[in-house]
């Protein structure tokens, strides 16, 4: 292999560095109109009436639409995560709310005008008469009988529950040497891609064709959703994904503005643009994370965890058609992550409140499970007096125990957790740390070390799902002149998989990578595929590319074997040449074989192969069980990348300010196709993790008003806030994936949670701090220090 495993620069780098990318906001069409959305100022209210007249009188206003029209003329928005398949309650969600709003920002009306300034002005003039309703704000309050109901038809606020059980936890607790308990709290936060969402819709009534440019991760599923919501044929819609300015899961459909804009463009037969404002993005662009995890763990005095009870309470916001609520399920599904705990009970309560709905965000609930287990392991270390790393080593699933069935039914493919932990401890010089800490203390500085373990299952494959079905397609086309076009069903919102897929195709064909063009994100040209989510673009899309390219290679070898008068099995290809194994001077050029197939299909070399050099093949992952496997379990994640971080942080007890001094991570995602891109993804993931661990917080008040809806209130890490990171990869290959790949996209984002909490506690051991809650803002850290001092620690 010449390219797989090499640091190949991103194929779109030049275009993007020159400012010549084409993002959705850059799409400019003749006669284009602009849409502005009227949003609910209340977290829960009934719409008594809407007066659109003042808006209609604004110059340039072409159309005003309310929820009544959405209800009468459109279907409810198709769910991107099938609630019925998961036994969860559902709602009918419309492009504009017809009678009731359930969170601040939910769309109630839309204005289309000649320019965006007048569209906004007109939207602001629309008078909506609301009757305020009681608000469900806190998830645990919302679970109680008599709480205000987000959906009155449901009878309660619980969307779905799960109860996973293995072994006999009661017995384990009764027989334990000791137990610990606590609650881990993750705040509500989000991905905040620098490019907000945006769409441009253009309808040609003569061709009956709606062209829809979307800053989305999933053009093909989006087309299905638009077709179903608008009640029109899929073949009358073309979704184009231009360059996307970051997704991180938040640009997975389906949002209200998508069918809304598509409907209006068809109705008016004019192109219309809608670009989300940053505050809109914070209000409605999808939230994540807000979970409380109550836990009790039973341990032996030698540090083995023999029992675990965990209760996950997830506040998924208002129910919608978005995929986000599934993250709560994944948290429960992943517990107890990399550890083998024989007696385990994991309960899940997915609760709805009058807040923004969750949408997918990097980590997808896995981060909370790993954060919980870090807290459990550190707690057991504290209670037994055994070293934190040692406790983890004692409890890991062993390398020879894979595939390992987890409590939830998850089938973990492979891993070597001992090796990654040992390596990261070497990198951070774990053994010398106590001395370093002592030296620092002499200088009046408080430094601490923490460990954060992460397990991020990837390639999500859910039953009966449009969006998450877990397969993908790829077309590989060798053109008559020998250059290669690759059309993928997966997409890249800046994650670099187009480069990885080019590497895989180049190696499979033996072609020069410079002759390969990868095209993505167009439903009219690319094969049907599910797009980008769950780090699947290489494990699913890359594997599909490999299968397609293999078919073409076999065909080309067949022709080349006649040209060279050897058996196909004796051939090899590299650098655009197909040569005889062991005799590299006997070769034909790749392009000459292509030319022969296209230009001489009745000739002696190509007469017995089908003309053309194009294959579209699909890949389905072997390690998925939708029909019960031998133990009656289902498994939705085929691939289980993992990693571990070790972090040294300094705490200023006077201010509560934390400075990260050193951050090392070892990551194992099986085969790494492009170490440069993997590294880049890890850096980004880790720094988003720092944001979640230290800064970012979507704060609602009791009336359900979001108080942090700009980048001035919702602070994400800047370059000055973070250190250089030290990241290494290990490659424990997936036994189920043809490339051995496991997925990298969500890696790194989890480690900082456990590592930083642990490091802060470790920096001030005399205070016996217990940080089970993020973010570790200076304010919170300082308050905890004050409390500990008042306790006399």
């Amino acid at each position: 292999m010449k390219y797989i495993g090499e640091e190949i620069l991103g194929l779109p780098n030049r275009q993007l560095a020159a400012g010549k990318g084409q993002f959705v906001g850059d799409v400019q069409l003749d006669g284009m109109l602009y849409m502005a959305v009227v949003r609910s100022p209340y977290a829960h209210a009934r719409i008594r009436g809407i007066n659109t007249k003042p808006a209609e009188e604004v110059p340039g206003v072409q159309y005003v639409m309310t929820g009544k029209e959405a209800f009468e003329r459109m279907n409810s928005i198709t769910e991107s995560y099938d609630t019925a398949a998961m036994g969860a309650k559902s709602v009918k969600w419309y492009a504009l709310c017809p009678e009731r709003v359930r969170f601040v920002g939910e769309a109630v009306a839309a204005v289309v005008a000649e320019d965006k300034y007048n569209a906004r002005k007109a939207a602001d003039l629309i008078e909506v008469d609301y009757e305020e309703l009681p608000v469900a704000h806190d998830p645990e309050e919302a679970m109680k009988p008599g709480a205000p109901l987000v959906e009155p038809d449901w009878g309660d606020n619980i969307m779905v529950t799960r109860d996973f059980l293995r072994g006999d936890p009661d017995k384990a607790f009764a027989e334990a040497d000791g137990t610990i308990s606590g609650v881990v709290k993750a705040q509500r936060y989000t991905g905040a891609a620098i490019e907000p969402r945006g769409y441009v819709a253009d309808y040609d009534p003569f061709k009956d064709m709606l062209t829809f440019w979307a800053s989305t991760q999933n053009p093909h599923p989006m087309r299905v959703f638009l077709a179903e919501t608008l009640g029109i044929p899929e073949t009358s819609i073309r979704v184009i994904q231009p360059n996307v300015g970051g997704g991180f899961g938040l640009k997975i459909p389906t949002f209200q503005e998508e069918p809304l804009l598509a409907y209006l463009a068809r109705k008016l037969a004019r192109p219309i643009k809608w670009i989300e404002e940053r505050t809109e993005n914070f209000l409605v662009g999808g939230h994540a994370r807000e979970e409380r995890l109550y836990y009790e763990a039973a341990y032996t005095k030698d540090g083995r965890v023999t029992g675990l009870r965990a209760k996950v309470i997830a506040d998924v916001g208002a129910p919608s058609a978005l995929v986000g609520w599934g993250m709560s399920f994944v948290t429960a599904y992943c517990i107890p992550t990399v550890y083998k705990i024989e007696n385990c009970r994991v309960q899940l309560f997915t609760v709805v409140t009058n807040k923004c709905p969750w949408n997918a965000y990097r980590g997808y609930g896995k981060e909370a499970a790993s954060f919980l287990m870090d807290r459990v392991m550190d707690g057991v270390a504290q209670a037994t007096g055994i070293d934190r790393a040692e406790v983890r080593l004692k409890n890991f699933i062993q390398p020879d125990e894979f595939p390992f069935p987890q409590v939830s039914g998850a089938m973990i493919d492979s891993g070597n957790y001992q090796a990654t932990l040992s390596r990261v401890l070497e990198m951070i010089d774990y053994k010398s740390f106590p001395k370093m800490q002592e030296e620092a203390r002499k200088q009046g500085r408080f430094i601490g070390l923490g460990i954060g373990q992460e397990l991020t299952p990837e390639g999500c494959s859910m039953p009966r799902s449009t969006m998450l079905s877990g397969y993908d397609g790829c077309t590989v086309r060798v053109n008559p002149s020998g250059q290669v076009t690759v059309l993928t069903g997966v997409t890249s919102p800046g994650s670099g998989n187009e480069t990885g897929i080019a590497q895989i195709v180049a190696d499979t064909l033996g072609a020069d990578i410079k002759t390969i063009k990868v095209l993505q994100g167009d439903t009219d040209t690319c094969p049907y595929g599910l797009g980008n989510y769950s780090s699947r673009s290489i494990i699913m899309g890359g594997a599909a590319a490999q299968v397609s390219a293999t078919e073409i290679r076999e065909k080309m070898f067949k022709v080349a074997s006649k040209m060279l008068e050897v058996a196909p099995a004796d051939l090899d290809s590299e650098d655009g040449k197909i040569s005889v194994k062991g005799a590299p001077t006997r070769f034909v050029l790749f392009k000459d074989v292509a030319s022969t197939v296209y230009r001489d299909c009745y000739g002696k070399y190509a007469c017995d192969v089908e003309p053309g050099l194009e294959a579209t093949r699909y890949f389905r992952h072997p390690n998925v069980y939708h029909q019960p496997e031998i133990q009656g379990r289902f498994s939705a994640y085929p691939s289980w990348p993992n990693g571990v971080a070790a972090c040294i942080a300094e705490v200023d007890p006077e201010t509560g300010f934390i400075k990260i001094i050193r951050y090392c991570a070892v990551h194992d995602a099986g085969r790494i196709v492009n170490p440069l891109m993997a590294q880049a993804n890890l850096h980004g993931g880790i720094v988003q993790g720092f944001g979640g661990a230290m800064y970012e917080n979507l704060v609602y008040d009791e009336a359900g008003q979001l108080k942090t809806a700009t980048f001035m209130d919702y602070t994400i890490p800047t370059a000055a806030d973070v250190p250089s990171l030290d990241v290494e990869h290990m490659e424990t290959l997936s036994p189920f994936n043809p490339l051995g790949c496991k997925g990298v996209g969500e890696s790194g984002v989890t480690g900082p949670l456990g590592a930083l909490c642990s490091a802060v506690e470790n920096a001030l051991p005399h205070l016996k701090l217990n940080f089970n809650e993020t973010p570790l803002t200076p304010n919170r850290v300082w308050q905890e220090i004050q409390r500990a001092q008042q306790r006399g620690n």
Binding site: L9, G10, P12, N13, R14, Q15, L16, A17, A18, G19, K20, G21, Q22, F23, G25, D26, Q28, D115, Y117, G191, A192, A193, I194, E195, P196, N243, V244, G245, G246, F248, I275, E277, R278, P493, G494, S495, G496, L676, M677, A680, N681, L682, H683, G684, G685, I686, V687, Q688, T710, F711, M712, I716, T718, A719, A720, D721, V722, S724, L725
Partner: protein, 173 residues
């Protein structure tokens, strides 16, 4: 209401009529079709819309187009002269993978231009503070910092007369 605006952008003169509510970033993008200037927040927080106004970086979402009348502006499009002729800073971002989705990149490149004009040999800490007004959500900044270090080396290794357009642009203010 519309007002006439006369600006020089990337050394080219433009006369346009703009809505008084229009921000400079929108004028560059929608009127002049220079879409390399991106908008990420509209509140001057993210830096995606960074351009040079009279030789100094500004956030073009926080300036009204009408206020740019008579001024000289450089956008990302003014830094390169073609796909194979990028500015050394852009080349460094390409070669060091100092970008992923590319949305923050134009602003990041222009802030780098300002930084390297002010401090030709910045330390890592100076680089990190120099770009702290530009948010990136993909890279974790590490390869951006590396790109800037490499760009500084390339620019400093060139004789003064052939220093990039960068320095020339900046000195005009």
């Amino acid at each position: 209401m519309k007002v006439p605006v006369k600006v020089t952008v990337n050394k080219k003169n433009y006369n346009v009529e703009v809505d008084t509510r229009m921000i400079l970033a929108d004028m560059l993008r929608d009127e002049l079709r220079l879409t390399g200037t991106h908008i990420g927040c509209g509140t001057g927080s993210c830096g995606a819309c960074t351009v040079m106004l009279n030789g100094h970086t500004v956030k073009s979402c926080c300036i009204l187009a009408a206020d740019a009348d008579g001024q000289e502006i450089t956008t990302i499009e003014g830094l390169s002269t073609g796909a194979q002729h990028l500015h050394p800073i852009q080349e460094a971002f390409v070669e060091n993978q100092g970008l992923q989705c590319g949305y923050c990149t134009p602003g990041m490149v222009l802030s780098t231009l300002q930084l390297l004009t002010d401090k030709p040999n910045p330390t890592e800490d100076e680089i990190r503070h120099g770009i702290a007004g530009n948010l990136c959500r993909c890279t974790g900044y590490q390869f951006i910092v590396k790109s800037i270090q490499e760009a500084a080396k390339t620019i400093n290794s060139k004789p003064a007369a052939s220093k990039p357009a960068a320095a020339a642009v900046a000195s005009r203010g």
